[in-house]
Symmetry: C2
Subunit: 149 residues, 2 copies
DNA sequence: CAGGATCCAATACGATACTG
DNA sequence: CAGTATCGTATTGGATCCTG
């Protein structure tokens, strides 16, 4: 689905990630999945997406290994879509997008949902990029090393 | 640019982020900007993108406040596109996507570029979502609290 | 080289209708 | 409800041409 220029064989991991989940809907579906959504209709209602596109994205994410289809927990004849370990590993991506949105995409005082600790309801700490030794790093403290192995 | 359903007024910060930078190219442009790319032609060569789309995306990112246009450093009549503080704040997003791509989008042993510490060249630590108190959190340890303020 | 304008193919997406 | 199929439209994105 979607081919553009095919970043799927790129040597840059950012490009390869985006090639799989960089479309308009996939990360929102994953966000909902983290939020406990698992049924076709729930995704559709939550996202306001058309059924055709939703089915296409859901199947794409399953093919990618981000979601898995399991027999519905309620015994109905259909599927639950649940995060695989590969999908769960997208948690920092979602949190990073959320924190950036909170910080830069709302006017001061404008209400928005917040991700908080389940026990206690306290907000999370801002994500920090760190060196192997644990030191906080700014972008300029890093470099891309081409084609490592 | 692009309207779909307009997530721009959504109450979820993830949706709002994606509404601005969730298209196929914007995050790759930002990645290149972190990598030091600032000229129109450099972006074009690096991304293999058509000029029309590149111009449209560049202007979109400028309008969003992620990039800024400055008089070219080499004295030519054109612009450099450089990250603003809002753009620099996307660093954790890029790093999260990169680490996910490294972990899940390459076969073992397949070469790819790597982001390393500038001084010393050591790889970064994996991003970890933490509570306000510094405790590492898994996705299931968190909940979305609707419409906080 | 930096960019805009135009043309065209592919498709993403929504709406609707249909099936079990 | 969970999808699939079809259709119409808007948009994406590449290629080409044009300008300073």
């Amino acid at each position: 689905m979607v081919k553009r220029v095919s970043l799927g064989d790129a040597a840059c991991p950012v490009a390869r990630s985006l090639d799989g989940i960089g479309d308009w809907w996939s990360l929102l579906i994953v966000r909902d999945a983290f939020d406990g959504v698992s049924r076709f209709g729930e995704f559709q209602k939550s996202l306001g997406i058309s059924k055709g596109i939703l089915a296409s994205r859901l199947h794409g994410l399953v093919a990618l290994g981000v979601l898995a289809m399991t027999p519905a927990a309620d015994g109905s004849a259909w599927q639950d879509y649940v995060l695989t370990p590969k999908g769960e590993a997208l948690f920092p991506v979602i949190v990073a997008l959320r924190q950036w949105g909170e910080a830069f995409c709302y006017r001061p005082g404008e209400p928005h949902s917040a991700l908080v600790e389940r026990s206690g309801g306290k907000p999370l700490a801002p994500l920090v990029v760190r060196s192997a030794g644990g030191k906080a790093l700014r972008a300029r403290d890093t470099v891309v090393r081409k084609l490592s192995c």
